[in-house]
Symmetry: C2
Subunit: 472 residues, 2 copies
């Protein structure tokens, strides 16, 4: 096991060097939490389709349980049950627009992970950094359980559990547990746990911070111990259900409409209703739920005993339990919406649940249509300081604050940015497919071959993978 | 499916060009027997261990259901459920001896399959051709169901079903169904079906030919139809049992002694007794059988309701049903030994069943210890013209014939060559392991990681694999 331990050490050392000015030491946070002997217990796998750029290069890395779709290289890295999805990478010759700039890509974009450790991390899509349109780099970085690195190149950064960086290039930053950052370019910042920060250049700035004592109930992350709390318990309780999915090569097919797609590595429990243009992604978990036309369940989503009326986005890592969502409802990254049996959560149509929102109720709760919701909501009372009509937000001209939420800038720009993005997500996922046009992931991801790869089973290279190169 | 069909055509055309002087046309024999749509139904897989040279290169090939262990490249080839085992390949710097010659290998040996089509073919080990010690080439060659290419480089040859070429380099040859050729170097030969030919340079020559009408019952191979007969039926009846083995990622472990190895892709049915130093290889099928200490069941073997007392070799593709074999008994390639319930076949210790022997009885039959057996035996009467005491064979000085068997040369050289080879096989397979020394495949093959690979699932490349390179 010695070469693997050496690799662990080297990655942590590189991460610490980058974070030296913040005085951060990654080692006590990660050294014990992934025992090296688990690194050869799970196979990794990659998808092959004619629709995705095929080029995988794995060199001197441990990849246990990780999934790859689309052009990617991993070098001197440890990926543990991570999901590296590059199915929206730019093609050579594409024009990339960023603000007033336009640039043509000189080659096919690729995800390039080097000297990094990603634990149960979701890496999705494409570099939004106009400085490196052809390389989505993740370098000298450590990301912990269920972090999302979404279109966000990263150099020398550390992400706590359930942290999301979204369209944000970061250098030498520490992102606290369950923080959501969508802020363009950041460097040398330490983001406290439970921070929700959305910045739109100089147009707007949204900031919410979870009270620490409440957050600790859901996710508690300290040096030297495994992450704890409701979120971890929730995931662990359902881990067993995924075991069969990974253990069986040919699963009994679950029938879905011809325009919908159900990933082979999703868990589907009785009784589901799956409409047209529905996308159910890798490692999603669905049970006793209606997915209306064009609804999606992205990676790491859990949707249980719920109804999604249609064109609903359930962003990466979101959980929806005992809830009814009207049409066009959006639930952001890692949100945790939990009603109770007989005491369901109802969210009216056209609502936006901000990323990293927790709605955890013990009495029935209804959020009216067209509302924006954020932060921690456990009762009707909380709702008053954690939501507002979207129209009201759109009318804000210079700023507004409510409870722990601070907003400055143009509410209209903020709402428009959100709406545009939701539209883009639905479009990319194939929600608007009409049988001929507007094909998206739901239609393209129906037929993927998966290849499995495993590490050396013993000897000094135990847990490390051989060098693997896959080309078209 | 067009690129795959193009590849089929091209391989057949190359094979036909090589075989033009024999006036042979491979197309009607193979064009219909592997429907192109089966080429994307089965995953291929390769093994990773620290004990075997790791280097796989697959380029523009279809590999459905094929297995690879040890350094191998496949280029412009179609491999269907074939088994490419290179775990005895020479290492760089090894001295290779051939007759009076010695040569040091300049690099690690590799199996190099190019412009060839192998259907359910077993390719095993290492080039015995002193002209190409570093490359075990298979070029412009077509091999059909359950053929064995054993240490035999091949250029432009065609092998019928259940044909075995053993330590024989062949150029532009057609080897008929169920023929066994161990003859050094051959070229431009057409070997009739059911020929058993063992040549030891100028020392001896053994020849047996099955009567055509009897052979047709067991294997019948003509242009334009699938191979038929008892052998094909026997394999097809047991195909279902292998399905689970390939469908399930983590099988419930079957306990075997620490010094024994049971391949993860073997089928084990109740009730087995597995002794020390036993080797059970990939795609072996064992049921209700005692495998005594040091016995082996090589690839594609079926051993059912039988007892093997110990140090028994069951060579590739041999079947043993309702039989009791004494210690040190050898059963050669593709032999088919079938007793009946309550009417078992008994073979005394130290006996040698020649490759491609058929013993198919309806009454109990006993072969005394120390006998050599060949050809077709269905009764006590047949035995008289198809066996003799090994000592008697060893005493032959210039020649002997019996029934359809013709032998010329030194019986002693023939017997010694056989005995040396059996000893080598037992040694290589780990039968003589004493807990410290004489480690072989049984001890080294216990812990192999398997990676699966699949072809493009649709589009014009459907059924073809991407370019895959695996290095240490």
């Amino acid at each position: 096991m010695s070469k693997l331990t050496d690799l662990f050490s080297r990655i942590i050392q590189r991460n610490n060097i980058n974070l030296r000015e913040l005085g951060f030491d990654a080692k006590p946070f990660v050294w014990e939490i992934i025992p090296a002997d688990r690194m050869n217990k799970f196979y990794a796998f990659y998808g092959i389709t004619p629709h995705h750029p095929l080029n995988f290069q794995f060199v001197h890395s441990a990849l246990a349980g990780s999934y790859f779709l689309g052009r990617c290289r991993a070098t001197n890295s440890v990926l543990y049950k991570s999901d590296i999805r590059g199915d929206e990478l730019k093609k050579k010759g594409e024009t990339f627009r960023f603000g007033e700039f336009e640039i043509e890509t000189a080659k096919d974009e690729e995800i390039d992970i080097e000297d990094s450790m990603l634990i149960k991390t979701l890496v999705h899509n494409y570099s939004h950094d106009p400085e490196t349109p052809e390389t989505f780099f993740i370098k000298d970085t450590v990301a912990t359980h269920y972090a999302n690195i979404h279109g966000s190149p990263s150099d020398g950064s550390f992400l706590g559990p359930f942290a999301t960086v979204d369209l944000t290039t970061m250098r030498d930053c520490v992102i606290g547990a369950f923080s959501y950052v969508q802020a363009g370019e950041i460097s040398h910042m330490k983001i406290d746990p439970g921070t929700v920060w959305v910045r739109g250049g100089d147009q707007f700035n949204f900031l919410y911070r979870y009270p620490e004592n409440y957050l600790n109930t859901y996710i508690y992350f300290r040096a030297g111990i495994q992450p704890k709390g409701v979120f971890m318990d929730f995931m662990e309780d359902r881990e067993e259900a995924f075991k069969r999915i990974f253990d069986v090569v040919h699963l009994d097919p679950v029938s879905v409409p011809a325009s919908a797609s159900l990933d082979r590595y999703a868990v589907i429990k009785p009784k589901m209703v799956i409409g047209e243009n529905v996308l159910i992604s890798q490692r999603a978990f669905l049970q006793n739920t209606k997915m209306g036309k064009g609804a999606n369940a992205q990676e790491n989503c859990f949707i249980i005993n719920s109804t999604l009326e249609g064109n609903n986005v359930t962003a990466h890592g979101a959980k929806i339990i005992e809830a009814n969502l009207g049409v066009n409802g959006f639930v952001g990254f890692n949100s945790f919406l939990r009603g109770r049996p007989g005491r369901q959560l109802t969210i009216g149509k056209d609502s936006i649940v901000m990323p990293h929102t927790i709605i955890d109720i013990r009495e029935p709760l209804t959020i009216p249509p067209g509302h924006l919701v954020w932060g921690l909501v456990t009762s009707q009372e909380d709702l008053e300081t954690h939501s507002m009509p979207i129209d009201k937000m759109a009318a804000v001209e210079s700023g507004v604050s409510l409870g722990n939420m601070y907003f400055e800038g143009s509410g209209s720009a903020f709402v428009t940015a959100f709406r545009d993005r939701i539209h883009h997500i639905l479009e990319a996922n194939g929600a608007f497919f009409d049988g001929t046009n507007n094909r998206g992931h739901a239609q393209r991801n129906q037929n993927i071959s998966f290849n499995t790869i495993q590490p050396y089973p013993e000897g000094e290279l135990e847990g490390l993978y051989p060098t693997i190169r896959i080309e078209p």
